[in-house]
């Protein structure tokens, strides 16, 4: 026998959430002291499939159960997909008991907060043009190239391109630091998102400059939105702001 784990929430009642889990499983809570695990009963083997639609619906169902628990009990500690504990309700309870202090501390850390993803893109052409225009050295070089014989001009053109690329990257680096410190004023915790698998079509022609997952207090969301809007309004930049998500990037039970 096994228990599929969705999340750990604040609360101490034995509850049934109905058949809202994977494959319409009955989702219920296993309380210990003032916290509880949200689970369904399953056989002790992972959910696997070759059917993409099925896999997608599992992922959505997993997320739905986490969202329901969040709505009812406040921010939860979400489990990764397909985490199954071998044993019964008592095994789960014992696991919570053994790790109670750590779990409790993590729950307090995410209380009244949610995870948001922030991605900042820049438009290479727009931004690049602006940077190069104000650089005297490059401007002079450009003028010289225009009056050069073709062979020499080609070499200098290369030099011009490399210099402007370097200049743009340096500027982007500086701006990344500036944006990070702006965002940091509004967030409790911040992690670099190493993987961004998908971005909407409208960002496809832009370069991803930075991607973060942030843990943000509910009261700071509006202010963060204002700050991001200011960045978004700068010429050549676009901000993508998604959430609220359960704190997937900040549930650190597995780490020391």
């Amino acid at each position: 026998m096994g228990r599929y784990l969705y999340s750990i929430a604040n609360g101490n009642t034995k509850l049934s959430f109905g058949h809202i889990g994977l494959e319409e499983s009955l989702v219920y809570s296993i309380p210990y002291k003032d916290i509880m695990a949200i689970v369904h009963l399953c056989s002790p083997k992972p959910y696997e499939t070759d059917d993409e639609d099925k896999a997608k619906s599992w992922v959505l169902e997993h997320s739905y159960v986490i969202d329901r628990a969040t709505n009812e009990f406040g921010t939860v500690l979400p489990f990764s997909f397909d985490v199954i504990i071998k044993g019964d309700d008592l095994t789960v309870k014992n696991w919570i008991q053994e790790n109670y202090i750590r779990i409790k501390k993590e729950l307090e850390n995410v209380e009244n907060k949610a995870e948001y993803s922030i991605q900042i893109f820049y438009d290479h052409d727009t931004f690049g043009k602006k940077i190069v225009e104000v650089n005297k050295e490059l401007e002079d070089l450009k003028e010289k190239i225009n009056s050069m014989p073709q062979g020499t001009a080609y070499l200098y053109q290369r030099k011009y391109e490399l210099s402007s690329k370097k200049l743009i990257l340096e500027e982007i680096d500086l701006l990344s630091q500036e944006f990070s410190s702006i965002i940091m004023q509004y967030v409790g915790d911040m992690k670099i998102d190493k993987k961004v698998s998908w971005v909407p079509e409208r960002y496809k022609d832009k370069e991803l400059m930075m991607a973060f997952a942030c843990l943000v207090h509910h009261e700071k969301i509006d202010a963060l939105g204002d700050a991001l809007e200011e960045i978004n309004n700068r010429e050549g930049f676009a901000v993508r702001f998604t959430g609220p998500w359960a704190p997937f990037s900040f549930a650190r039970l597995q780490e020391v």
Partner: protein, 216 residues
């Protein structure tokens, strides 16, 4: 229009966060992140290889499970991929004339302030040292010279999956370490042979190691 919508709920304008493409967005979070159990009990942290999701973030835990022999149900191709990916990993550095006498998967109790947990890795018993080695990321988590080992005892202790036997090492004038392996009996025998010490079994319950010292 996406995330660039403006609202005036709080009086001012701001960008409102949104969830856009449900599944794809969720995959990065749900498959790579979230709580992963690093306990003896876990039987799966399966990804969905079909969707092309690499499981880098979960590798440490997968390794734990592979080592515990808990991955029977794991998708075959993923297992092969993992074995290949982990084949090139660094092995433990031995001195010249140092030989590995015994090797087994296990863990070391780590307790520092509020943090207390079992750190998993491979226990290596050589003719000179007793070492806990973590493969990924490679690190020596614990090391003691056999000649500095003062006392070795074992004791049955309550564990959330029932009871289990742990080994206590005393070394370097009073420092303690509490360890667990799946092959306690074999390790005991090998340790006795290598150190020429006899190992006693005790029935200490609720003993705790705090900052390297044993509290009973």
């Amino acid at each position: 229009m996406g995330p660039l919508q403006f609202r005036s709920a709080s009086g001012g304008l701001n960008i409102k966060p949104q969830r856009e493409n449900g599944v794809v967005e969720l995959l990065d979070k749900i498959l790579d992140k979230g709580v992963i159990l690093n306990a003896d009990l876990i039987i799966s942290v399966a990804g969905i290889p079909l969707i092309g999701v690499a499981l880098k973030a979960a590798i440490a835990s997968i390794e734990t499970m592979l080592n515990y022999g808990m991955m029977e149900a794991w998708d075959k191709s993923t297992r092969e991929w993992y074995t290949k990916a982990s084949a090139n990993k660094k092995e433990i550095a031995l001195k010249e004339e140092e030989q590995v006498l015994f090797r087994t998967f296990g863990s070391l109790w780590y307790s520092q302030g509020q943090i207390s947990t079992w750190k998993p890795g491979f226990w290596y018993l050589t003719n000179e040292r007793f070492i806990l080695w973590r493969k990924s990321p490679p690190e020596t988590l614990f090391e003691v010279q056999l000649k500095n080992l003062e006392d070795i005892t074992t004791c049955m202790e309550p564990h959330f999956a029932g009871e289990r036997e742990n080994i206590y090492l005393q070394f370097d004038e009073g420092q303690m370490a509490r360890i667990h392996t799946l092959k306690t009996d074999e390790l005991k025998e090998a340790l006795e042979k290598a150190t020429e010490k006899s190992i006693e079994s005790r029935a200490v319950h609720d003993s705790k190691i705090q900052d390297g010292r044993l509290e009973c």
